[in-house]
């Protein structure tokens, strides 16, 4: 199971989407969820420290998800290694590859259910044990 105490950052420019994702996370059992409306806002929150998971939309104004990912990976640890799940509507291969190259931990295609989200997070947790309870 996951460490439900970790702080999760949900990044999306559309408030309804943030709410939906937060809702799904709550269904899974996560309690500590923060949100940001774009990459710029997310990065400044992340730099504040303490986040254990980022779930970010791809297409946003000001700073896109992919640029947020690159910026995060360019930071010093521990932020550099924060588990990063990309939400995308474009299941096009080239984009996913772009994200993988940039160091994304996994991606999930919209729309998704709590079950799918759980699977993706489990896959991430295999490589990043910080996500697991007691990890």
């Amino acid at each position: 199971m996951f460490d439900f105490k970790i702080k999760v950052l949900v990044v999306d420019d559309f408030p309804t989407m943030r709410r939906i994702v937060k809702n799904l996370l709550k269904q899974l059992g996560f309690e500590n969820i923060d949100e940001a409306e774009d990459g710029v806002a997310a990065l400044s929150k992340l730099k504040g420290g303490g986040f254990g998971l980022v779930i970010s939309d791809w297409n946003m104004p000001n700073m896109e998800g992919i640029d947020l990912l690159r910026a995060v990976r360019a930071e010093a640890p521990p932020l550099k290694d924060v588990p990063f799940l990309m939400v995308t509507a474009e299941a096009e291969k080239e984009k996913v590859i772009e994200a993988i190259k940039a160091g994304v931990d996994n991606y999930v295609v919209k729309p998704f259910t709590a079950e799918v989200l759980k699977e993706k997070l489990e896959k991430i947790a295999e490589r990043k044990p910080s996500l697991k309870a007691g990890g």
């Binding site: 420019d13 000001n62 509507a89």
Partner: protein
């Protein structure tokens, strides 16, 4: 968790509507600009977001429409294509359909629309611009003025069925200008540079923190602020009296200081609360480019639309209620005011008609204007029409100044075109505009000049809760009248009052106006004001009517807070509400609009 879901859906509806409102004006701007990557991207993102959220919530029809529109925008954006007018029509239809679909979600009626035809059109549109995809992406600098020679060659090389759309020609030219083998698809360096620029500019946008609050809470605060204003007025009044009685008391100075401080703070509070309810008028104005564009297409009149003062802030209720009257005026200006392109050229005017929409704050008034540079209102035609419809007599028509005659268009049932068109005339006319504006305590005027054009001016008070009032006395009672409807106040001699066919009249600067006595109107016992040698008269202007009304005494102007009286409908009794004056009296605020309507109906019988 059904409640949570319900809230999410409500949120989705609000945000989806906001998204559409935001991108709507972009389409029209895009149409005039041609290709604009930033704009296309913004529209793309809006559609994309809608589709994404609708996906989670399972609104399949929204997904179907938004997905296709999104794909088209993406194709345009990535390939440097300026959308053609026809393509624009399809996309705008999609936006309209999305609004309808979101409306169903809002009502939770589960209804579906027949979108098959729209989807077919969208798919067909997607195939059409796709033709350009095979060519290397055009750079942003490409849609320059097309070289006529190149156009001709291009058309010869690739004849098209609809050669009239310049946009397509531009695309073809783009094909010619970019040396095909030299640039591989999506040159990364250029693409990145362009993207960076875009980010730079959007990053500079100010981040505004907002909070969504239930409007009833704000109204409660507004209400309390109103009460505070009333208490302050009362306190100031008392403090002044106490100062006179106990001028020697050492505490007087402290009292006066405190009351004057309270005075200032209360005014600031009032203003601050008012501002909470204020929103930029762009919320209303943003719909107009689209509307003007559609009308321009339907009527085949090319129009340059200019909008000023979108940032002007007005009360929420103005935002909600000024849209319809403005739509009516703008439609009227385009349909009746503007000539066809050919007519304009024949008159030596610019080919394109101009419509200017503006909003400004002037003191405590908001002034909204719609100006066209068309043919102007034919005043004689207005006179004839009014006579024909029995609105005025031939004699009246002759005496009437041009200024007064133009105002006849605001009479119920008036329409200058013999056959009302589908677009602007629907039996209802400018009278509805006037009534709706009057409901906001405002008034509408028109200034017109033959072949120069017309300006419709709507003047509104900044807020509806507080009005400038004229305090009057009738018999023993004090009343308040909205200042916005009073043109001037006069003191007249009995000899100035004439009698025309049983109706008392006054001649004010050459205009004969009917005179009524307020005490008779209200059925209040009073020493008849007119019986005195001198009497006080107000010249009122309400909707289409000007008249004089005699009162016992003019007390003065005061800023009053309108309190609604439960169970009292202004339409029935002519009372707008009540207020408490500085000296603690409860005073009724009279609704001159209702009173005028009754007087004129009665006097016509």
């Amino acid at each position: 968790m059904p409640d949570e879901m319900d809230e999410i859906i409500s949120e989705f509806v609000t945000e989806a509507e906001e998204t559409l409102d935001r991108i709507d004006p972009l389409f029209v701007e895009l149409e005039s600009k041609g290709y604009d990557k930033e704009m296309l991207n913004e529209i793309f993102r809006g559609m994309h977001t809608l589709k994404g959220a609708a996906g989670f919530l399972g609104f399949q029809q929204i997904i179907d429409v938004a997905h296709r529109a999104e794909s088209i925008m993406k194709c345009l954006r990535d390939n440097g294509i300026a959308p053609s007018r026809d393509l624009m029509d399809v996309i705008l239809t999609s936006v309209d359909m999305l609004r309808v679909l979101i409306g169903h979600v809002k009502l939770r009626d589960g209804a579906e629309e027949d979108i098959s035809e729209l989807l077919t059109r969208l798919d067909a549109a997607m195939d059409a611009p796709m033709e350009a995809v095979a060519t290397p992406p055009a750079l942003q600098s490409v849609p320059a003025p097309p070289d006529p020679v190149a156009v001709v060659t291009a058309e010869q090389v690739e004849p098209r069925e609809s050669a009239d759309t310049t946009e397509e020609t531009v695309v073809v030219v783009a094909k010619k200008d970019v040396p095909p083998p030299a640039s591989p698809p999506k040159p990364p360096a250029v693409a990145d540079a362009v993207e960076d620029q875009g980010q730079q500019s959007s990053r500079e946008r100010e981040v505004v923190q907002t909070l969504r609050v239930d409007v009833t809470r704000i109204d409660k605060v507004m209400d309390l602020a109103g009460e505070t204003v009333l208490a302050r007025n009362r306190l100031l009044n008392l403090a002044m009296k106490i100062e006179q009685t106990y001028s020697g008391d050492p505490n007087i100075e402290g009292l006066l200081e405190t009351t004057s401080f309270l005075d200032r703070v209360t005014s600031d509070l009032q203003l601050a609360v008012m501002k909470i309810r204020m929103q930029p008028i762009s919320k209303v104005f943003s719909k107009f480019p689209r509307m003007v564009r559609d009308m321009s297409r339907q009527l085949n009149k090319d129009i340059d639309l200019e909008i000023f003062g979108e940032d002007t802030e007005v009360d929420k209720s103005v935002i909600e209620n000024i849209g319809d009257p403005m739509v009516h005026i703008i439609r009227n200006s385009i349909d009746h005011g503007l000539e066809t392109n050919a007519e304009r050229e024949a008159k030596g005017k610019s080919r394109n008609g101009r419509i200017i929409i503006s909003a400004t704050q002037q003191g405590t008034q908001i002034v909204i204007e719609v100006t066209d540079d068309g043919r102007g209102i034919d005043v004689d035609a207005v006179r004839r029409k009014a006579m024909k419809n029995g609105l005025i007599s031939e004699e009246e028509a002759e005496k009437m100044s041009d200024e007064a005659a133009v105002d006849l268009i605001f009479l119920p049932g008036f329409s200058t075109k013999e056959v009302s068109t589908e677009l602007s005339g629907r039996g209802v006319g400018m009278d509805v505009v006037k009534t709706n504006v009057a409901k906001l305590n405002g008034y509408v005027e028109v200034v017109t000049k033959k072949d120069i054009g017309s300006t419709f001016r709507i003047s509104l008070p900044l807020t509806l809760a507080i009005i400038q009032a004229m305090m009057i006395r009738i018999g023993q009672e004090q009343y308040a009248l909205p200042q916005s409807m009073i043109e001037e106040t006069l003191r007249v001699r009995r000899s100035d009052i004439k009698d025309v066919a049983g109706q008392q009249v006054l001649t004010i600067r050459g205009k004969v106006l009917p005179l009524f006595v307020m005490s008779e109107v209200l059925g209040v016992r009073s020493r008849s004001a007119v019986a005195q040698e001198n009497s006080y008269v107000l010249v009122a202007s309400v909707a289409d009517r000007r008249f004089c009304i005699a009162v016992d005494e003019l007390i003065g102007q005061e800023e009053v807070v309108i309190k609604m009286i439960n169970g009292v409908e202004s339409e029935e009794c002519g009372i707008l509400g009540a207020t408490i004056t500085g000296d603690g009296r409860v005073v009724l605020i009279l609704d001159l609009a209702v009173i005028a309507r009754r007087l004129f109906i009665a006097s016509r019988k």
